[in-house]
Symmetry: C2
Subunit: 537 residues, 2 copies
């Protein structure tokens, strides 16, 4: 597990990157026609940025709030805060054209400092981007800053305290700037865990998990991150919101649920109170082969609806299983027929034994057969996916993921619709893809689908991907799915959001923004369409 600075040009810690297995390189060449490695910038200095626009007055005022040592506008800091980690972001950094970047990066140390920064930026009409781990894959860090007097990033890394721990209520109050591993380490010292392990775990922050409604790989057992948030302190240009006096209440609409998923467009989360659990003394992860995807879907649905409910429950389709993507240690080795399910159990040894035995019975009755070592292989490689994408991009492939969620009745139709739409589009572009899918999160009423798509890069790979992505989004909406299960809206899904929640839903969001952020400085262009551009009646 890495705790290094996130690579500016790709994922994670460059020291952890591993070369592609020869089998994959061969597959890329023979299967997808990928044979031209793409150039990667050697150094961060090769990235060109658009000029700094922020005037002296707001820059000075902001710098005074945090202190000069916590205000940066050097090239390195600007590049590292310019983009997230979508394939489009990585391609933009490789394309050689100037990219937009924040003018000033501030690292405040308190809620009061965040409020003060918002005050200065409101006064001077400066766009503000709250910045956690920088791991957005939906363009959530790139504001529409035209028309603003500059772009300031608020990097929350110094808000990294375990503020308090309430063992009786099993609650921890934590700073939003804590990355996943740091938060878990603080809690492990007291015997607790949050239990939230998304693929971005090593670099993403608690504030980002909340702002983007993250979902972790153990969501069947621990819940999504939005299920874990019991309290929020939020700094907005209009003042402070302190939300959450109880797990649940009937005191009107749940305003926590407005801030969860607000992606920095309604406020800056400066403190979170989270459910915690005793760290499980025992964990075991099993692999099961199901005969096919339909029977796999039926059995994971049976487990989540009728129990016993495992802590981890995932199901790869035939293509993903064949490629071994669920087991990075065996990547490209082939040979696994059917569909691989990962079924994990955490808890006391006795509880794990009981639940595992009962779940195994359900899986066996559905035609499942144990796959030795597959579960442990998955858990050891489960944060490796983004490294693989970097290597594939380097090799000249276009690789990206997309995800959706719907009710069970529509899951199979959604799977077929997305697969068909993406395959048809990329094939029409002359680059027939490999499309892999897994069910990553299950609920009694429905499930998410997570697609990985790879094909040969065209000379304009961003345009190539945007076209395929547009086809996927249209297919998702037509099949009844949500545009995103856990990646968020950002810039990339904004059009889809309008179709999903309707014009009135968008106006509701714009109305909320007008209250908490009247100057519209927070993450402009992310999630919310400004009220002025909506067709107001």
């Amino acid at each position: 597990m890495s705790t290094s600075e996130l690579s500016w040009s790709g994922w994670g810690d460059p020291a952890q990157a591993t070369p592609l297995p020869e089998a994959i390189t061969e597959l890329l060449r023979s299967g997808l026609g990928v044979d031209r490695p793409t150039p990667v910038p050697d150094s961060i200095d090769q990235v060109t940025l658009t000029p700094i626009r922020l005037g002296t007055a707001p820059a000075t005022a902001c710098t005074e709030i945090v202190g000069a040592e916590h205000a940066r506008s050097d090239h390195d800091a600007r590049v590292r805060h310019a983009r997230g980690k979508s394939t489009l972001d990585l391609l933009a950094l490789r394309a050689g054209r100037p990219i937009a970047a924040p003018d000033l990066i501030l690292t405040p140390a308190s809620h009061a400092e965040v409020l003060a920064i918002l005050g200065v930026c409101t006064e001077h009409r400066v766009a503000v981007v709250p910045f956690g781990g920088g791991t957005s894959v939906v363009g959530g860090l790139v504001p529409d800053s035209d028309g603003f007097a500059g772009w300031v990033a608020i990097d929350l890394r110094r808000l990294d305290a375990l503020v308090s721990l309430d063992e009786q209520s099993r609650l921890a109050t934590l700073g939003p700037g804590l990355r996943g591993p740091a938060a878990e380490t603080l809690l492990a010292q007291r015997g607790y865990t949050i239990g939230h392990f998304p693929q971005s775990f090593e670099y993403a922050t608690l504030g980002g998990f909340a702002a983007a409604r993250s979902s972790g790989q153990s969501s069947a057992g621990y819940g999504r991150f939005d299920d874990l948030v019991m309290g929020l302190q939020v700094a907005t240009p209009a003042g402070t919101l302190v939300l959450g006096r109880a797990p649940k209440s009937a005191a009107g609409p749940d305003l926590r649920q407005l801030m969860l998923g607000s992606e920095g467009s309604l406020g800056v989360i400066t403190e979170l109170t989270l459910r915690i659990r005793p760290a499980p003394p025992h964990r075991v992860y099993d692999g099961w082969r199901l005969p096919d995807f339909d029977r796999g879907l039926a059995v994971v649905r049976a487990l989540i609806q009728d129990g016993p409910v495992p802590t981890v429950l995932r199901l790869s389709d035939e293509a993903e299983t064949a490629l071994g993507l669920a087991r990075p240690e065996r990547l490209g080795s082939g040979g696994d027929g059917g569909c691989l399910a990962i079924v994990g159990f955490e808890g006391t040894e006795a509880d794990v034994a009981v639940t595992r035995t009962a779940a195994s019975r359900v899986l066996e009755a559905a035609g499942g057969r144990p796959v030795a070592e597959a579960g442990e292989g998955w858990v050891h490689g489960r944060f490796a996916g983004p490294y693989l994408r970097d290597a594939l991009l380097d090799a000249g492939a276009l690789v990206e993921t997309l995800e959706t969620v719907t009710f069970w009745r529509s899951v199979r139709g959604l799977y077929d619709a997305v697969t068909t739409a993406v395959r048809d589009d990329l094939t029409a572009q002359g680059t027939p893809p490999v499309i892999l899918c897994h069910v990553s999160h299950v609920y009694p009423a429905g499930a998410s689908l997570y697609f990985t798509i790879a094909c040969a890069q065209l000379p304009q790979p961003s345009e190539q991907w945007l076209r395929a992505k547009h086809a996927a989004t249209a297919a998702i909406l037509a099949a009844g799915g949500s545009i995103t299960h856990h990646h968020g809206v950002g810039r990339d899904h904004r059009e889809g959001l309008a179709q999903e929640i309707g014009e009135l839903g968008m106006r509701v969001l714009a109305g909320i923004k007008a209250t908490v952020d009247p100057a519209g400085i927070l993450n402009p262009g992310i999630l919310i369409t400004p009220q002025s551009s909506l067709n107001l009646r």
Copy 2:
């Protein structure tokens, strides 16, 4: 179980009312000094109403939408839609002074008709109160209609269909006007249950459960009603919202959570998609005596945090246990020392056996002892509480309930603070009360407290109660609790809401209302303070 029309002057079906046990009458006399029965109006005709104000133009337009047979302005209909079922409501009906009532009661048959009514009422600036079962206990049906051109109630009883049932996703789409028993009957015919059984179950409606964030007696097993809502169709003056494409999504803030708890002030719920479960073939309810309230709190917390989690989990304090309020069949019989817990299990016979055995072990280890027949006594009498209140009011007692919720660490302090505040206030008024309490709903992070308060009536009982209630609310807020766990905000908790979510939180609500209800016609004065009256910066 009754399915009659709700009594206009009290709770439920008058035929089901039972006289007070002699022991209770004696207790009222000797313990509280209650010895003067209060006069009850014999007939609905004795109630006087303020005159009809609605003009001919809006009345005619509204009537044309639904048809003359579904538009009433007769005395009987007006009285039955004037008030909810709080003690303040019942006292107002008994006081003999003219009370405000809707001018026109409409029973639309479709979403389109509701939208059309909202259009007419917006045009003519007529206050609109969405009306489900009429069981509000927080003044949620009494709008601030001054300044409006009248008051129209939209009674949703004709929106009572089981629209669709999706067995694969375990979802049912239902009309908001269905009362609890009717909805359960429709689903039972297909083998399913919603599992939502609040004390108001027999008369309250699905739309009301959602609009007021109801919580049922089986919430430990089935969740609160807001946990069960997967989709909503809402008619607003600004148009229709259709929300919920999946159990969970990262497509921005969860707008379902805005409409849940909106109490008719943001829109009229015209369709709900709810989680359903297979009807449990086996149910068993046990009674356990715990040595005292603190040890009782510790064991219900242990069960909800570490399992096994029962379907029903309640705990009465010493006073409520002594009075036998948890066991209406033994009311006033005394003799039960300690604190009575009700622990219920529903599911397959095998699952119930396993969970019950394991829970019993936890209860025994905490010093619990089984109380024969107490569980079955509770389940048979669980909808009887409101009948008892009517009888107590008739006998001359002032009786009301109030509830709150907080995190576990604050539960005991909240209990003490509310008890002390209410006792001190009513004692200072010369009417020392009996105060009973139970934990009705538990979560891993916290629990609700439900208080029943009884004392002798003063000549101005409404003022007497309002003073005590104000003291209770202040104590709740100071002790960190929420002003309501499941009764809602209505009129009665509006001041407390402003303290709970802050001035900015109130402005957020007002901003949302300005978007969906620009004329402010929906339930004016309920939940949301109009934006114009807030101190806008």
